[in-house]
Symmetry: C2
Subunit: 319 residues, 2 copies
């Protein structure tokens, strides 16, 4: 199989490229590096299974040679407005990646009659009124809210993907990705995992905003990529949640990181002055993934953190 992966230099896209190549496939990676990093794919330079094209998916996409699968992972994805890589600081690019990028990548899938996989997100559920979230839940999103450039772009992308499936008979699939962590996360995109790990490695107290009772579910990247790969090679067309249903409060999460790192500096609570609409809870119902893909996460949080922390230690040492 020869797959086009957009967002190939991103956190998830680069792991996906590695997995595809490990399975014996060829990959055409595409990225414009507005949030992705060349470091994430530097190890693939010179690999005969990997061709890189620097390109913005909002513009018409030409790929030389036959493509069997298109995986659209290009988008800013951090909600943190204090980071230059947060989607609120790249709102037009985010909406173009979701609308034009999805349109253009679906066009590639149509031209090549390829399997298509859209990277969607738990953010299409917004601030959910149902817990955990099943794929049949319609979500609770403010169309003009502070996160709407991302949430509505992804909802539009899902609708367009299903439209291509129904009306152009394209073999599409949609993964709704929940919070994921692992190596190659940007240190500076403002998300909680890199923030906590960096503070812990520096021996600083971990900053928890609010009372820390808000919960998250963190999936280790290898588990996530396994689920996505299974979805790719399946015949499923409906959206599938991939994420870890193990729910943990931000406070417990901070304590776990301090324990794994061996950071004695503890935790400091600060008033939550960040982006509004921050969901209090989000947790996947993975029944469909179990049934359709025989998938569930295998890697416990402490194990995943032990695999992740050396990456951050090295990056911080180099910085």
């Amino acid at each position: 199989m020869r797959a086009l992966v957009t967002g190939a230099a991103g956190f998830l896209g680069s792991h996906l490229c590695d997995r595809l190549i490990k399975e014996g496939h060829s990959v055409v990676g595409m990225d414009n590096f507005i949030t992705g990093s060349p470091d994430n794919i530097a190890h693939l330079a010179g690999n005969s299974k990997f061709l890189f094209i620097r390109h913005d998916v909002a513009n018409f996409i030409f790929v030389p040679g036959k493509i069997d699968a298109v995986m659209h992972f290009a988008s800013p994805a951090s909600p943190n407005p204090t980071s230059p890589y947060g989607y609120t600081n790249l709102p037009i690019q985010t909406m173009k990646a979701g609308a034009l990028g999805t349109h253009n990548t679906l066009g590639v899938a149509r031209a090549h009659q390829a399997r298509y996989l859209l990277a969607s997100t738990s953010e299409i559920y917004g601030d959910p009124l149902e817990h955990p979230q099943k794929e049949t839940y319609w979500g609770h999103v403010d169309p003009i809210g502070v996160r709407s450039m991302y949430d509505e772009a992804k909802r539009f992308a899902e609708a367009l993907t299903m439209t291509y499936h129904h009306y152009h008979n394209i073999n599409t699939s949609i993964v709704r990705i929940f919070n994921t962590y692992g190596t190659r996360m940007r240190l500076d995109d403002g998300r909680v995992v890199p923030n906590f790990i960096q503070q812990a490695l520096r021996g600083e107290p971990l900053t928890v905003y609010g009372d820390g009772s808000q919960t998250r579910s963190f999936c280790y990247v290898d588990d996530l990529i396994e689920g996505i790969y299974r979805l790719l090679i399946s015949n499923e067309h409906l959206p599938v949640n991939i994420g870890n249903p193990a729910e943990i409060s931000i406070l417990e999460f901070a304590e776990t990181i301090n324990r794994v790192v061996g950071n004695p500096a503890g935790i400091i609570k600060q008033p939550d002055l960040r982006l509004g609409d921050d969901p209090q809870r989000r947790r996947p119902d993975i029944t469909r993934a179990k049934e359709v893909l025989d998938w569930e996460p295998k890697i416990a949080l402490e194990v995943g953190l032990q695999r992740t922390i050396p990456y951050f230690r090295e990056k911080l040492g180099a910085a």
Copy 2:
């Protein structure tokens, strides 16, 4: 003022052109005629205040001369899948009008530093869980539902419009249009008003799907255009509902049309086999329009119907 109106040959767009010209403004009308009709603007041919450009808004828009206002009304808008003009039969065009069309028209507004007005819709509320719908209601839309090509395109368009307002400082506005009726509706787009009026004029019984208890709120087009014009010349940036809050069941509505037309053939009920997700109720809360625009509808249903029916009689006679 010189305004660009997209969808100028449509039901609402053409009435809007007339109103702008009546107020002394100049209009550049744009349409690709996939659902609009040249008949709706034939009377403007040769009018020095009106320039028509046949163009698909999904492609880059060039407008000769200075533009002071951009009003984006281009989109298929009928939910009826039995009509070739229904958006379920034009799904890609509908999503392109909502995403690319909004992007391109916002680009015109940005280039000309013009006032922007997006024609949004009550369909962004989906199958609402709150009645009536306030502008602050987030809606209840299935992102992969049978109507999602329209609903999600309009939600995306709203998010993109607010993004241009916040990040490019464009003077934007958003009108959420509820059910409207009047002259220049397509006879064959499958919506309930033209369907009922045609059946009544032919002396046939009016077909009510289901038990007829589902309600709608119908606004006469002159009322709607008045509200939109007031919004255009206001400084409002947040979405404003424009519609008639007078709620009526489909059964009562059919009886009213029979009475106004003088059709003795009555009503026939049929099982509802049409598009899923058909909302059972939708009714605008127009508090914001009253406060911000000093607007409310003035024209009673029977009066509006009396003004509308001669148009359909003439069209049917000509057919």
